[in-house]
């Protein structure tokens, strides 16, 4: 027989008070009296109504309360039932096998307060099957016909009583669950800090990468008040130090918590990742914007929000940690609520309307990194960054200096290969790449309008997987392309002996245009057609040389010089581009490939070095031939950084070199990532203007030691999409439940 616990006078007083406090709920009607719950019970309660056989009586742990409750139900005639399951860490649950006439006393032996629940109808009136009787649900405020009233994927019954399995106990209530508030539970493991090879803080803690209480509070703030985020970072027996290799997206790590918890691992600064529509994620233990974003991925949110297909990163009016532009912004401490009604269409932007607000705080935020937009106090925003405010422009509002992927929409991978190079030829786009053995091959694209705006990651050109070899063309470096005045395609390359070769495709027939067998080039060649002349530029013998390609092949080489007479030093290769009737070239010089912009001075036939002031923020260093194109009345420049890294892209405000100019100046903006920080470029970059669609196309090899030919149909970031703000909270709510089991549709 289970012992009875004497009730002290003071405890009785306290319990009486509780009963009185609850009396209105319990005794106001017979039905309501049969089920109820009371928090902070330490000794027991007396019910003034009977409990009948089949009633369930149980205790629930409270945070900081008792851990080892035992129950005894005593009627006027003596004990009716008791629960002897008094194992440590287990709460008591008793099913009455006999009636307990009023006054029915429920004694609780917990040593500290617990929540006491008695449920007369669990077996007789539980329509939704959540383990809570109908009257108890009324009392609790939960929906008797919905097993998960708050829609968080945790049933009302489990949020009240928890779950006990052979594998362990899930004490959701003790950990903060509320069936009326959507809860998100996270078990956060952490990587160990190794003080031999890492900095583990002044306390030399092996748990330096564990989430701190402060970090958890900041993490939870992102979800509040809509969702209550509860994180077990070790205090509830779940989160623990795990060595590398011991974690991953593995339900076994959660044990009995699987289906109720998300699983995380935290680590040193600078990491993060989250699975879409799943239960696992990770990030560093300091930057909670990253953690919020990675958990947001579990709910299916993308960097542009939802729907996934239209998810474009770095929308300026989508203030969410999901957005790379705002992940680290200290003023963004919650997800977006979708309150900005402005729709931004990159192909038709109203700079005078801006974001529909003249809120100084918002405008100041847009003027600051990472957007660094020029704004006016009236709310006008220079979306296309040309130094003017116009009512209708094309621009990339997602252009920001934060790994913003503005050129990534509808990009297309075309298999293994190096140095894809573009040219607009006779109303279509040529793309030539070199295979691993150096063989050059050609593709054509004639259509770029096959885009489904709901599938921004899907290709939308008619570029095929297959390419056509260029007969006899084997290249040791990036090929060069140009359209002749007659509308044929000209290809120049350096053969394995690093001798220049040229071929021309006229209609369907290739013909050789010549070779240079007495000079070894040291980098990537370039070719440009200007004023009826075909000029080939290539580095060789410490300098940059020019050959004119005529009907009889290559002419004699000319050493290129700056207008001051200085020879142009060899770099990895130059990128010429015609801007109106002026020929410019991006000229990386010297061993680091410091990029200069030159303009061919017709009078002297030398290159005028553009002044240092055109580089507004930072100069670029190119490890391979850059790409340069005249588009949207400005110059675009893309390159592989020295010595390796993510592809970079910048554009000038315009081309005006007049000292008094205040807009559309020849000034390059801060270099931006072409795609994102993972967008490592293998070799040369290529840009080409599509005059029919008024779009800038780009191509480069993605990779480091291997390379995939990748085509970027909207390198300028100007895509015909409608960019909107969105309510993240609504989206999260819709995916709370399915994410727990990775079962979202």
């Amino acid at each position: 027989m289970a012992p009875r616990w004497p009730t002290s006078a003071s405890a009785s007083t306290r319990c009486s008070a509780l009963v009185v406090a609850a009396a209105g709920l319990l005794v106001g009607s017979t039905a309501r009296a049969e089920s109820g719950w009371l928090v902070a019970v330490s000794d027991g309660v007396t019910l003034e109504v009977p409990l009948f056989a089949g009633a369930h009586v149980y205790t629930v742990e409270e945070e900081g309360g008792g851990l080892d409750a035992r129950l005894e139900v005593v009627g006027a005639a003596g004990p009716v039932g008791s629960d002897e399951d008094s194992g440590v860490d287990r709460m008591a649950h008793l099913r009455l096998e006999a009636d307990c006439p009023a006054p029915c006393r429920i004694d609780v032996g917990a040593g500290a307060s617990v929540t006491l629940v008695w449920d007369q109808e669990r077996e007789t009136s539980d329509a939704d099957g959540d383990g809570l009787g109908a009257e108890l649900e009324v009392f609790l405020g939960t929906d008797p016909n919905d097993p998960d009233t708050d829609g968080d994927g945790l049933s009302d019954g489990i949020e009240i009583e928890g779950l006990e399995t052979d594998a362990g106990i899930v004490k959701l209530r003790r950990w903060g669950a509320d069936p009326l508030t959507a809860d998100i539970f996270v078990e956060a493991d952490w990587q160990p800090c190794d003080p031999i090879v890492e900095s583990c803080g002044i306390n030399m803690s092996l748990d330096q990468h564990r989430l701190s209480d402060g970090a958890v509070a900041r993490f939870a703030a992102f979800f509040a008040p809509d969702f209550a985020l509860h994180v077990d970072h070790g205090q509830w027996g779940g989160g623990e130090r795990r060595a590398q290799g011991e974690y991953g997206c593995n339900p076994d790590l959660l044990g009995p918590r699987f289906g109720m918890f998300h699983q995380a691992v935290t680590s040193a600064l600078g990491s993060g990742g989250g699975a879409d529509y799943a239960f696992c994620f990770g990030g560093d233990s300091v930057r909670m914007g990253v953690m919020a974003q990675e958990l947001g991925h579990n709910f299916g949110l993308e960097h542009g929000g939802n729907p996934r297909g239209e998810s474009v990163n770095c929308k300026p009016h989508y203030r969410s940690p999901m957005n790379y532009a705002y992940t680290y912004d200290p003023s963004v401490v919650g997800f977006s609520r979708g309150t900005n009604a402005v729709e931004l269409r990159p192909t038709a932007l109203d700079e005078l309307a801006g974001l529909g607000t003249n809120d100084p705080a918002i405008l100041a935020g847009l003027a600051a990194p990472p957007f660094e937009l020029t704004v006016r106090p009236d709310g006008a925003i220079d979306w296309n960054r040309d130094g003017r405010f116009d009512p209708l422009v094309r621009g990339a509002p997602t252009w920001a200096y934060a790994s913003c992927e503005q050129s990534m929409t509808h990009n297309q991978s075309l298999g293994d290969g190096w140095d894809p190079t573009l040219a607009w030829v006779g109303g279509r786009m040529a793309l030539v790449h070199r295979a691993g053995d150096g063989a050059l091959a050609l593709r054509w694209a004639t259509r770029f309008d096959l885009c489904d705006p709901a599938l921004i990651a899907a290709a939308c050109t008619d570029l095929g997987e297959a390419s056509v070899p260029i007969p006899g063309a084997v290249s040791s470096s990036a090929p060069a392309l140009a359209a002749t005045d007659q509308g044929s395609l000209l290809v120049v390359w350096a053969d394995p002996a690093r001798h220049l070769r040229a071929a021309e495709l006229d209609v369907e027939t290739w013909r050789e245009r010549g070779a240079v067998d007495d000079v070894e080039v040291s980098g990537d060649p370039a070719v440009v057609v200007v004023g009826g002349r075909v000029l080939v530029l290539a580095p060789a013998a410490q300098g940059l040389y020019r050959w004119e390609l005529g009907a009889d092949g290559f002419g004699a080489p000319i050493a290129e010089r700056w207008t001051d007479g200085a020879p142009i030093a060899a770099g990895p290769g130059v990128a010429p581009a015609l801007a109106g009737d002026e020929l410019f070239a991006a000229i990386p010089e010297g061993p680091l490939g410091l990029i200069e912009l030159g303009r061919l001075d017709v009078a002297t036939d030398r290159w005028e070095r553009m002044p240092e002031t055109i580089w507004q923020v930072a100069r670029g260093y190119a490890a391979a031939r850059p790409g340069l194109a005249w588009a949207h009345d400005r110059l675009y420049l893309a390159w592989k950084p020295f010595p390796y890294g993510a592809a970079l892209l910048t554009m000038s405000e315009g081309l005006d070199r007049a000292p008094e100019a205040t807009s559309q100046r020849l000034r390059f903006l801060r270099p931006n990532l072409f795609t994102n920080i993972w967008g490592t470029i293998a070799g040369a970059a290529s840009l080409a203007w599509d005059p029919e669609a008024a779009s800038l196309r780009g191509a480069w090899g993605f990779g480091t030691t291997s390379s995939r030919v990748t085509f970027y149909p909207f390198a300028d970031g100007i895509v015909d999409l409608v960019l909107r703000d969105q309510d993240d909270y609504a989206f999260i709510r819709d995916h709370l439940a399915c994410s727990l089991s990775a079962s979202c549709p």
């Binding site: 031999i196 090879v197 306390n203 260093y621």
Partner: protein, 413 residues
């Protein structure tokens, strides 16, 4: 004056001559011990002077001080700040790759590594840039006296570059750490550079050509810092059931022989060296947030003071004050405070300054006017913090602060 590494008086532990074929495997050419003289404390009241946001980027492990310039690696940029925290110059890396914590030479040239090794002059201009192979990046440099800088890279190699030209002087593969973390180049002394790779047989390499020097005779005993008298302070992680590391602390002579050691009775680890090569050791119980204790050992291993309740030592000042840093939160959470401690005789508190609700992230620098600088994270923003202390610069000891001196050179002088 240069000498071979000799150890504490009375222990007759001077490096014994090994067989002639192994003579060059010991550390040689060590500097004489620095002066024991201590400066007078400044007549100031320690206080927090200011805290200023300087970047949203992640900063490295430590700052550097060159004259009146503070140097901070902030993501892909090295910032040159004046003593008020205002930006004077900056230099982005060529590939916008993350730059490691800076070290600075006497001329003010900054050495840092990312996808390349970089030397940046005081005006923020590149002196040289030497690329690593594709996909490889380096970690903080150790600056040696032989015209070389050393780093461990993600290819598992120890690299030495000529400071004048950036040319690779030598490269030796020694393996990566778990998680593909690069070797940690920790320190240097005499003709030896210390590079730690867990599981690798050796950690001392000839600074001039990368030849391995005498390997540690005991497994998993990894060097931390050099003292002129104490030798190489090394530690070994013993089984640690709790939060804090139980380290066996050992002093090794120039031939990597253990001269004395302290077995842990509870979690302990070596921190800094005060003047006279007094080793400051932190002890605490294996209970999270347990009180910390400070013990002081002489270069011969004799316990001189403590363990006494005190925060972990962070800096040793020129006036002999040991500045401890108390961080009560986990991670980089505060509250935190600085405590000035006397360790001459009994360990006692001299002053304290409450810092606030964050804990410093980077190792500090301490200027001659007593201003201590460090950074901490407030949310995702890095702030530079200035605190007035009573200490007129760093102690003349051989390892008065993490990374050894204000310039972060990590080389025994």
């Amino acid at each position: 004056m240069r000498r071979a590494l000799a150890l504490g008086a009375g222990l007759a532990l001077a490096c014994q001559s090994p067989p002639s074929t192994q003579v060059t495997r010991c550390i040689a050419d060590l500097p004489a011990p620095p002066s024991m003289a201590q400066a007078a404390s400044l007549a100031v009241t320690p206080t927090v002077l200011w805290a200023k946001p300087i970047t949203r980027a992640i900063t490295g492990e430590h700052l550097a001080l060159a004259g009146d310039r503070l140097i901070v690696s902030a993501g892909a940029t090295v910032l040159f700040l004046d003593r008020n925290g205002e930006r004077i110059a900056s230099r982005a890396s060529t590939a916008f790759d993350g730059m490691s914590s800076p070290v600075v030479d006497e001329a003010g040239t900054v050495y840092t590594a990312g996808a390349s090794a970089y030397a940046i002059d005081a005006a923020g201009e590149f002196r040289w840039v030497t690329p690593f192979p594709a996909g490889v990046s380096g970690r903080p440099f150790v600056l040696g006296p032989h015209g070389l800088v050393y780093t461990g890279a993600t290819d598992g190699a120890l690299w030495a570059f000529e400071t004048a030209t950036g040319r690779v002087a030598w490269r030796r593969e020694i393996g990566v750490n778990p998680g593909n973390a690069p070797p940690r180049v920790a320190a240097g002394a005499g003709n030896a550079v210390l590079a730690v790779t867990r599981g690798a047989p050796g950690q001392l390499f000839d600074a001039l050509d990368g030849t391995p020097l005498a390997p540690t005779p005991e497994a998993e005993l990894y060097g931390l810092m050099f003292g002129n008298q104490i030798g190489l302070v090394a530690r070994r992680m013993e089984d640690s059931p709790g939060v804090y590391p139980r380290m066996t602390i050992a002093a090794l002579d120039g031939c990597s022989r253990t001269t004395w050691s302290i077995a842990p009775s509870r979690p302990q680890w070596p921190a800094l060296l005060a003047t006279g090569d007094r080793l400051l050791v932190v002890e605490r119980d294996d209970v999270e947030r347990s009180p910390t204790f400070l013990a002081v050992y002489g270069p011969d291993g004799a316990r001189l003071a403590g363990p006494s309740p005190a925060p972990p030592p962070w800096v040793v000042g020129a006036d002999g004050t040991v500045i401890g840093l108390f961080c009560d939160g986990s991670g980089y959470d505060g509250p935190s405070r600085l405590v000035g401690l006397s360790i001459d005789g009994a360990i006692g508190e001299l002053w304290r300054v409450e810092l606030g609700e964050a804990c410093p992230k980077t190792g500090p620098v301490l200027a001659a006017d007593g201003v201590l600088y460090f950074t901490w994270l407030r949310g995702d923003v890095t702030e530079l913090v200035a605190v007035q202390t009573t200490s007129p610069g760093l102690a003349s000891s051989s390892w008065p602060v993490a990374k050894h001196d204000n310039r972060g050179t990590s080389w025994l002088r």
